[in-house]
Symmetry: D2
Subunit: 144 residues, 4 copies
Amino acid sequence: MDSRISSTSLRVRGYHLDGYGHVNNARYLEFMEEGRWAYFDERPDLFRRLQRGGLAFVAVNVNIDYCAAAVAGDDLELTCWVSELGTRSARMAQEIRRQGDDALVSRATITFVLLDVAANRAIPIEGELRDLLAPLVLVSHREA
Amino acid sequence: MDSRISSTSLRVRGYHLDGYGHVNNARYLEFMEEGRWAYFDERPDLFRRLQRGGLAFVAVNVNIDYCAAAVAGDDLELTCWVSELGTRSARMAQEIRRQGDDALVSRATITFVLLDVAANRAIPIEGELRDLLAPLVLVSHREA
Amino acid sequence: MDSRISSTSLRVRGYHLDGYGHVNNARYLEFMEEGRWAYFDERPDLFRRLQRGGLAFVAVNVNIDYCAAAVAGDDLELTCWVSELGTRSARMAQEIRRQGDDALVSRATITFVLLDVAANRAIPIEGELRDLLAPLVLVSHREA
Amino acid sequence: MDSRISSTSLRVRGYHLDGYGHVNNARYLEFMEEGRWAYFDERPDLFRRLQRGGLAFVAVNVNIDYCAAAVAGDDLELTCWVSELGTRSARMAQEIRRQGDDALVSRATITFVLLDVAANRAIPIEGELRDLLAPLVLVSHREA
C-alpha cells in the first residue's frame, strides 16, 4: 500500500447495528473518525505540530457514500489519506472495505479547516504545517 | 412554515458532546435521523404504505455541512423535507438551527433508494408510493 | 406525581436499537442521563449552585435492571429523583416506563460523589448545596 | 493470565468522550460489550452452541463501578470472565484497566438470563450448554 495511506481495522459488533441488523449510518462516521485517529497515530510529528500550535482540523463537510451494508462479525479495513491540500481547507479521503471479499462498504471525503483553538477561528494552512502535509497528499483516481 | 416541511426539536446534552465540548460529527447524523422519524410520524399514511409493501428508504449518500458548533443546553430545531423525487432515488434536505438566534448549525442532503426488504434490492419509486410523495416535494433554493 | 420526582419522555428510534431490534444496553444509560438533565432543568437553582462552585456530580456506580425490551416507536417516560443523601455520596433513582401500558422497562440507582472540578477531587456534600438537596430526597420503597 | 479470562484492548478516541474530556458513562457499556464479544470470539464452540439452539444471553442487570476517568489516547485492556453459573442466570465479571500504570478504570458484573429467542422467554441453563460453561467459571476474589 502507498505509504501515504494509513490503514486500521475493526470488527463489527452488536452495538454498532440498528434495528435492520446493519451498521447504522451514524456509526460509520465514528468508524471514519477511528480511521483518522489511526492516521495521526502513525504520524506523531504531524499530530505534535498541531498540538504545539494550539491547532485542530475541524470538519466542515462530510460527503459519505453507503455502498454495502456491514453486519455483525464483519472485519472492516479502514483506509485514510489526504486527498487535497488547499490554502483555506484540506480534504481527506476514506474508505471502508470488508476483509475477505474486499467489498467497498463505504467511502467518504471529509473537508477540514484549520482552527486556531484559542481564537476559535479558521486560519490558512501554511508554513511548517503545510510543509509537513504537502508530501502526504495523494490525489485519488475517484477525484482526479 | 410550509406544510411540506416537518420540524422537531431537541436539547443538546452532555452525552452528545465530544472532548472539545461540541456536538460530535457522528451525533449530527443521529439528530438528522431523529428529524426524519419526526417527518414520518407526521405522515402516517406514507409510513404505513412503506411498511405494508415491505419497503424501506435506505440512505446511499449523506452530504452534510457543519456550519456552527452546538454546545450543551442549546435547543435545536430540526427541519426536514423531500427535496427531489427521481425514478431510482429520492432526496431529503435537512437543517438544524439553534433556537434563539436561528443560527444554522448544520444542513444535509440525504439520497435514498427504495429497498424491497425481502428481496434486498433497490426498486423504482412508482405507483401509489410515488403519488403519495409527489405533492410533498419542495425544491429548496440551495439546490434549485 | 410527587414534586420531588422529575419526568421527561422520548420516543425510541431506529438508531437506538441493536441487531435484535431492541434498545441496546448502553443506550439506556444515555436515556438515564437525559432523565437527569431534565431533573436539573427543572431545578435551575441547584444547577447554578453547582456551576458557581465549580462543582459537578460524578457517577461512581450505576446499578441498572433491564426489565422489558423497548422497541422502535415506544414512548418512554423517564422519571428521576434523589433517593439518598450521604455525607460523601448521593444517590439518584431512575425509572423508564413505557407509556400506554406503564410497563417498567428499566430502573437504575446511580451513586454520585461531588467533585471539585478544578482540584479534581471528591469533597463532602455540605453547606448551602446540602440545604438545597435535603428537601428533594425521596426514599423509594424499593430501597427503604 | 488464567485461560478462563479473555482480554482485548482498545484506544480511547475523541468520539468516546463527553464534554468533560472523559469517556462518557454510556460508552463504558459499549466497551464492556466489546470485551464480551472478544470472549465469544475466543470460544467459537460456545458461540455456535448458542446460535444452533436459537439461544442468546440477555443482560438483566449491569452493576458498574467507575473508578478512574479514561481520556483520549489511553490504551485500555478489557478483561472478561464467567464469575457465576446458576440454574436460571449467569454472571460475567469485567474489568477495564489502563495499560502502562495498570490503573483500574472500571469494573462491572453483568447478570444474564438465557433466552429462547423464538419463544422470547428465559429458559434454564442446562444440558450441553451448561457442560460447556461450567469449566469456564472463575470465582473472582471480589465476589468470593
